[in-house]
């Protein structure tokens, strides 16, 4: 078995991992980037739609353009990458020593790492996980799978499409199918409001006359060989189908866009503490998890709306790894927990020191209009005309403001109505 030593091992070659490796090499850390597939880039490679890079590059790019800008930067630096390499386990040896076991075509590699940056992205929820019953015919795809087929391999999955879930992925795939001439029969959403960004509801559905059925659920898939139809029903406030409201939509394809889950199997096995709200690890402001020296960024940390945030997290995690490597660990401080207050469903990071500028990302539990996003301990409040679960709230807190909380053991993020 091949053995090597690194300051930091980055697991996952999507946008978070690429951003991280660039930063790490710039900072002089001995780094390797590991990717399972035969090319770097991750999901943006197959995203031919725009909306990428508005914050980070101050330009509206497609996913493909966005990721190539990052890849160009990376190539100029000369970065060590392992492609077609699969991390099968991570072993914790000591505070400053973890072993990343990697399966490659050249054999098993044991990478000794002071720090790990885990950027393995997310996985898609599937039909069975969301409780759809009925037949199990061919013609059921997850949205990402359908996108890979269409935009990497040029294959059309089907022509009469029903999309389950109105998150951004579902909305974008509805438009993709419509653009290629498929008939998108409906986008079905169990919640009373769309799951994706408002701009996507307009640009992907309204502009293409695709019906969005809110408070509806697919109760059954029917088909002997291939999908023949779905049975849809209205749901009550507990998301239970209302009897008598069922109707059928004939279709040959069902696309499941029922949300993403951080892909954290390896971290769970390593013993990292998981936040049930985000589905990702509990982290401090440097994105270090509960296992020392293991940092997490991108959709493996929390499902992000924008790739721009993912890239920023990748860079921040490297900052953490750099501190860890150069000062033999993260210095001991009195961590303050970031508490979820009124109408806050999730928040990242979970702990802050109060001594650095931090960006708090959060989502609300339910939509509201005219609210303050507030941290009362430090007298910070920001007005929002509307907040929706689909749209992450990004709150930048300066260390000067945070110094007001010097004697607090927590700060509370809450969303409160104006007046």
């Amino acid at each position: 078995m091949i053995e090597r030593k690194y300051d930091t091992v980055i697991i996952g070659g999507g946008p978070a991992g690429i951003a991280a490796v660039i930063k790490a090499v710039e900072l002089g850390l001995k780094t390797v980037l590991i990717e399972n597939k035969d090319l770097l880039g991750g999901i943006p490679l197959q995203c031919v739609h725009p909306g990428f890079g508005i914050h980070y590059f101050k330009e509206d790019l497609t996913g493909t353009q966005f990721i190539h800008r990052l890849l160009d930067r990376m190539e100029k630096l000369g970065v060590e990458c392992l492609l077609k390499a699969h991390v099968c386990s991570i072993e914790y040896k000591d505070y400053g020593e973890k072993i990343v076991n990697v399966i490659t075509r050249n054999g098993v590699m044991k990478l000794n790492a002071k720090t790990i940056i885990y950027t393995a992205g997310a996985r898609e929820r599937h039909l069975f996980e969301i409780g759809v019953v009925g037949d199990r015919p061919d013609g059921v795809y997850t949205a990402g799978e359908a996108q890979t087929l269409m935009d990497i391999y040029g294959i059309m999955p089907g022509k009469e499409i029903v999309i389950v879930g109105s998150g951004d992925v579902g909305l974008i795939m509805a438009r993709r199918f419509a653009l290629e001439g498929a008939q998108v029969k409906a986008v079905i959403e169990i919640l009373p409001y769309p799951g994706g960004l408002m701009r996507n509801v307009t640009q992907c559905l309204k502009d293409f006359n695709i019906p969005l059925l809110l408070s509806h659920d697919v109760v059954k898939v029917v088909g002997r060989k291939r999908v023949e139809k779905v049975v849809v029903a209205k749901v009550d406030e507990n998301f239970r189908p209302i009897e008598g409201t069922e109707f059928e939509i004939p279709c040959d394809t069902v696309v499941i866009a029922a949300g993403l889950r951080p892909n954290i199997d390896l971290l769970e096995k390593l013993g990292v503490l998981i936040d049930s709200a985000t589905g990702g690890p509990v982290v401090n402001e440097l994105l270090e998890s509960s296992v020392p020296g293991v940092f997490v960024a991108g959709n493996a940390l929390v499902i992000n709306d924008l790739v721009d945030y993912v890239v920023e997290q990748g860079e921040l995690a490297v900052k953490g790894a750099y501190i860890f490597v150069s000062s033999n660990g993260i210095s001991t401080v009195d961590w303050k927990s970031v508490v979820k207050g009124r109408n806050v469903r999730l928040v990242v990071p979970h702990y802050i020191s109060g001594k650095r500028d931090v960006t708090i990302l959060s989502r609300v539990a339910k939509p509201e209009r005219k609210v303050f996003v507030r941290v009362s301990e430090i007298d910070v409040k920001e007005f929002h005309i509307a907040v929706r679960p689909a749209e992450m709230i990004k709150l930048d807190l300066k260390k000067e403001a945070l110094s007001k909380a010097v004697n607090e053991s927590k700060i509370t993020l809450e969303v409160v109505p104006v007046g």
């Binding site: 099968c88 399966i103 098993v108 039909l127 061919d138 799978e145 391999y153 294959i155 059309m156």
Partner: protein, 501 residues
């Protein structure tokens, strides 16, 4: 010289495959195993509880064949699992009772165990029960412990048995559906199929749910009908907390063996089945229902300490059991028409008994058709499974990669399946005579796509490999029964859009 009989076995499920294997031991038979699906084991054999029953649940007074062959089958499976490298385990089972009434009916099975000579069956209570099964519901009063119960992977069992049978000169004909049984002068002369006429002197009907139809084609047992009995199942992720060590089940009712909670040989918690009689013609009604799954949830709660969260469900599925009148298996060779054999109505414990049924059928044939058996000298009893990364140590994986670098390319993350394993599955399918290499066929041979992502990460990668190694365009690769895609994005529907406008 001995006459060689041309035998057509219709149906490559566990029963047909087992008969093929047994017949392949003798020089007397030239065997064709005929299957309507693209692959073997896609009917009843695929979706069931996967239990090898000890035989203490069969009443020899009402169902003597079931009692005898269940016990024998359970013994033979131990040998077959070793010879054929079939994933199997033998943890024993606990029939859990929660009150006096259930205890009373559970006691019956101890008596049956005595009559059927099933070893080691006894009742365990309280502390001992909890010691044997830490995940049992703490409210359970006791259980009937049957140490000889086991579990196998049923779809891999069929594949293994067929591979071995083909290795011993059985010919497998997939995608071949029998449309008629031709009889001349009171003798079977062959089968009409969608691929033409197949000559045969003996036709063995092992067609699961459709055995009544095939029997009627030969004008045999016109009043015999098979009723599909549906069972729904829930399969959980490997990482759930509650994974019973033993095979747990509730006390049986007149129509089912009870609801089971087991950890499959692949490490998933599985609960089920329901038991629901369907109309006679509903022989492909394998849909799941909210009601059925809810019921499972409730029943399993009675025997398990706790149930995992719903978000840990990785798959729900339903299978059909072929239920014959009064639960009587129809295992019979006929002399009118001469050469016809029914192996029909193989309801539970059909999987357990399958190897014993195969011997029993051979015996019936020998007697009725007056066959003097001639053992092949070069018969090979062994078959090896596909060696995989999952379960291998890092050192073993390193060795595998040295021999074949394709082991170093992991395509299915959840079950850690390499390119080498997938290619070997494709090769093995070709070798036994599978005409259409399906993604499902690869899944059943390697477990690729059976994990928590249910194939969203790897399905297209496996499809690509199949496309490459079978010279099939990617969109024409078959998943289970339909193609993965419908054509090329650029030329297909976009062109239609332009004509429309």
């Amino acid at each position: 010289m001995t006459i060689q009989y041309r035998v057509i076995i219709v149906g490559a499920g566990i029963v047909g495959a087992s008969i093929a294997r047994i017949l392949s031991m003798y020089g007397n038979f030239d065997v064709r195993l005929v299957e309507k699906e693209p692959d073997v084991g896609w009917g009843v054999s695929k979706a069931n509880t996967s239990i090898i029953h000890p035989g203490h649940e069969e009443d020899p007074n009402t169902h003597p064949l079931r009692a005898e062959l269940c016990k024998k089958g359970s013994e033979i499976w131990r040998e077959w699992a070793r010879e054929l490298d079939i994933p199997a385990k033998w943890p024993g089972e606990l029939m859990v009772f929660t009150n006096e009434e259930e205890e009373e009916s559970a006691r019956k099975y101890v008596e049956l165990a005595k009559i059927n000579k099933i070893p080691g069956v006894r009742i365990v209570y309280g502390e001992e029960l909890k010691h044997m099964e830490p995940y049992v519901n703490p409210d359970a009063v006791g259980a009937v412990y049957a140490p000889t119960a086991g579990a196998i992977s049923p779809f891999e069992a069929v594949i293994a048995v067929v591979e071995n049978a083909v290795d011993n000169c059985v010919k497998l004909l997939t995608e071949t559906e029998v449309k008629g049984v031709r009889v001349q002068g009171g003798k079977v002369v062959g089968a009409e199929t969608n691929r033409g006429f197949i000559e045969g002197d003996i036709l063995i009907n092992a067609t699961g749910l459709h055995a009544d139809k095939i029997s009627h084609m030969a004008c045999v047992e016109p009043n015999f009908f098979i009723r599909p009995r549906r069972g729904e199942y829930l399969l959980f992720d490997e990482d759930v907390k509650v994974k019973p060590i033993r095979i747990l089940h509730t006390t049986p009712t007149p129509i089912t063996k009870g609801v089971y909670a087991t950890t499959t040989v692949h490490g998933n918690l599985m609960i089920g089945p329901t038991a629901e009689d369907l109309p006679l013609d509903a022989k492909d009604e394998t849909s799941t229902s909210t009601g059925g799954l809810e019921k499972m949830w409730k029943e399993a709660g009675k025997i398990l300490m706790e149930l995992p969260p719903r978000s840990k469900v990785v798959r729900t599925f339903a299978g059909l059991r072929p239920e014959p009148p009064d639960g009587h298996w129809l295992l019979k060779a006929y002399d009118d028409p001469w050469g016809f054999v029914n192996v029909a109505g193989m309801r539970s414990p059909g999987l357990t008994a399958a190897p014993a049924i195969a011997y029993y059928i051979l015996d019936q044939m020998v007697k009725l058709f007056d066959i003097r058996l001639l053992k092949k000298r070069n018969w090979n009893p062994y078959r090896r499974g596909i060696v995989g990364l999952n379960g291998s140590s890092l050192h073993e994986i390193d060795e595998l990669i040295k021999k074949n670098p394709d082991y170093g390319e992991v395509l299915c993350y959840c079950k850690m399946v390499s390119k080498a394993e997938i290619l070997e599955a494709v090769e093995r399918m070709k070798k036994i005579g599978v005409k259409t290499i399906t993604i499902d066929g690869v899944k059943f041979r390697t477990c690729a796509g059976m994990g928590r992502c249910q194939g969203s990460f790897c399905r297209w990668r496996i499809a690509l490999l199949i496309s490459q190694y079978t010279n099939t365009p990617l969109d024409k690769v078959v998943v289970k029964k339909a193609t993965y895609g419908i054509g090329d994005v650029k030329v297909l529907l976009r062109a239609m859009l332009q004509t429309d406008s």
